[in-house]
Amino acid sequence: MLLDVQHLTTEFRTRHGVVQAVRDVSFSIEKGEILALVGESGSGKSVTSLSIMGLLSSNGRISSGRILFNGEDLLTKSEHALRRIRGNNMSMIFQEPMTSLNPIFTVGDQIMESIQLHTKLTKKQAQEKMLHLLDLVGIPNPSKRVKDYPHQLSGGMRQRIMIAIAMACEPQLLIADEPTTALDVTIQAQILDLIYRMREQFNISVLLITHDLGVVAEAADRVAVMYCGRIVEDGKTADILSSPYHPYTLGLLKSIPRLDDNADRLYMIPGMVPPPEEVPPYCAFADRCSRAQDACRQGLPPFIALKDRNVRCLNYITEDQ
């Protein structure tokens, strides 16, 4: 097991008081596995990834839980040890590559910097490695592209550069936060394909953060669905997408327009996601749920472990329904 997140709770100080963005979240990633964390905006999926990377903004903090990486708890480490682990073993790519690349340096400079920071290669070796990396992520004509500045490249190319930088330290874990959201469909397919290939080739683990169930279906081995800061269902992608047990997962799946479906109206989940400071102390989905019973509003439903998945619902949907 590479990454094991146990009972992670992250909170933020805001004008409305202390608000929990991530509530008691547990999941794990095996070596070479792609886990997708899926949810709508405000579900806490990005905050989870930032908590793991230690990139929370100054008003946020992890209030409880453990983050085990290769068996070591990251939250008890010193700042220095932490920086070493995060630098050498984990990398992150973001939604908008333009903002994560420095506009005043060429992409070559930025990849070189990353390589030389993490390895003890000579300049010549590092240069070779850079060209190799660019070739790996499918950048045509790499020796020419390294002299380009970020704004001279297209969105898809920039995301490839980001992946090259992320791969420079030969990480064990790649955290990809909405890596394809800002890209067009045809480019999105290319980038997903690339991430998939990186996994095959280097056996890295990937934590894929996305709101798009289509991306999940394409790329992930396992999926955890988040709603209002909690994981409501997790399991193998195939199981969950073909027969969701949690009513929220079902609602999400049904509300996506599908190509193979000619229904006149789209299914819609009534109501909307409550703001984080108004999440009820019982099942957060109960007020929008057609299967809700009185018991659902009594207290928080437990995380029920079933044969092939976990589900946080008292009245979950079973196969025969």
């Binding site: 805001t14 009534p270 109501g271 703001p275 108004e278 007020d287």
Partner: protein, 299 residues
């Protein structure tokens, strides 16, 4: 329609309450606000009482008794008396009225003209914008106080002319701010939506652009008052502003500068009045900027 039954929980938070909370949290800005209110009240009370012929100041600020000249601060004359035997405390208080009203008037001139020019330039762009902004650049390339003095030389002495000169030289600042704000607001979809709706340019400027650029301009105006007070003092110091015997802080400084060693209190108190007032407007302006900009608002 089924959607109509959607439960709606809408965040209610008044902008004014948020703004007040932000200023309240910033103690320096809060103190400055109270001090500014105190200054304004002082100016109003002295103006009203003088026009009614009531004297509430301990002494008449404009007439002195030569025999009472150069009395150091004491129980009768808190700030002492000047070379003509006038009570400095009464003069400093009386000067508040002139300094504040000059500041406010100069800022109003600059604010209205500058905002209008900048908004027009930013909205229409092209050659008109180029023309306006190059003219502003020319004004900015000369030190403002020098330019104000040049204006005064052309216009002649007097408080009204000082106001005009100070107002004119600070037009470019407002024009620039207004222009960049207009350009930023113009990029929003709601401006395009207004066009699609069929709004005329005038309506777009008045209904959609102006209300959205007021906050940065108000902040600038608050800070602008302090520089206008300074400029008035500088012109007064050069003898170009208010004419004797009326009290104005800069003019008071100028007239007592030869006594800096023998009677320093004649300079200290008007100087202090200028410093504290300018500081108060600056601190309040900073606080106001934080309060109006949600991104820098304290959480």
């Amino acid at each position: 329609m089924t959607d109509a039954a959607m439960p709606l929980k809408v965040k209610r938070s008044s902008k004014w309450a948020d703004m007040w909370a932000s200023i309240y949290a910033n103690k320096a800005a809060l103190c400055s606000l109270f001090f500014i209110l105190f200054l304004v009240l002082t100016a109003i009370v002295t103006a009203v009482t003088q026009s009614m012929g009531i004297q509430i100041l301990p002494y008449d600020p404009n007439t002195g008794d030569m025999e009472q000249a150069f009395i150091a601060p004491c129980a009768e004359h808190w700030f002492g008396t000047d070379q003509l035997g006038r009570d400095i405390f009464s003069r400093v208080i009386d000067g508040t009225r002139i300094s504040l009203s000059v500041g406010a008037a100069a800022v109003s001139i600059a604010l209205i003209t500058g905002t209008l020019l900048g908004a027009v330039g930013g909205f229409f762009g092209g050659r008109l914008d180029n023309l306006i902004m190059r003219a502003m650049d020319v004004i900015l390339s000369v030190p403002s106080i020098l330019l104000a003095i040049t204006f005064m030389a052309a216009l002649g002495r007097g408080l009204d002319k000082a106001v005009l000169a100070i107002g004119l030289v600070s037009i470019p600042e407002y024009a620039r701010i207004a222009r960049s704000c207009v350009m930023a607001v113009k990029a929003n979809d709601y401006i395009q939506a207004a066009r699609v709706t069929g709004c005329s340019n005038l309506r777009i400027i008045l209904k959609h652009i102006v209300p959205n650029i007021t906050s940065p301009i108000v902040v600038r105006a608050t800070l602008g008052i302090s520089s206008a007070v300074l400029d008035t003092a500088a012109l007064g110091f050069l003898g170009l502003g208010v004419q004797p015997p009326f009290a104005e802080w800069g003019d008071m400084l100028a007239r007592s500068r030869s006594f800096i060693f023998s009677a320093p209190y004649t300079l200290i108190f008007p100087g202090l009045a200028i410093t504290v007032t300018v500081l108060a407007f600056n601190l309040f302006g900073d606080g106001l900027r934080d309060a109006l900009d949600p991104r820098s608002r304290r959480r």
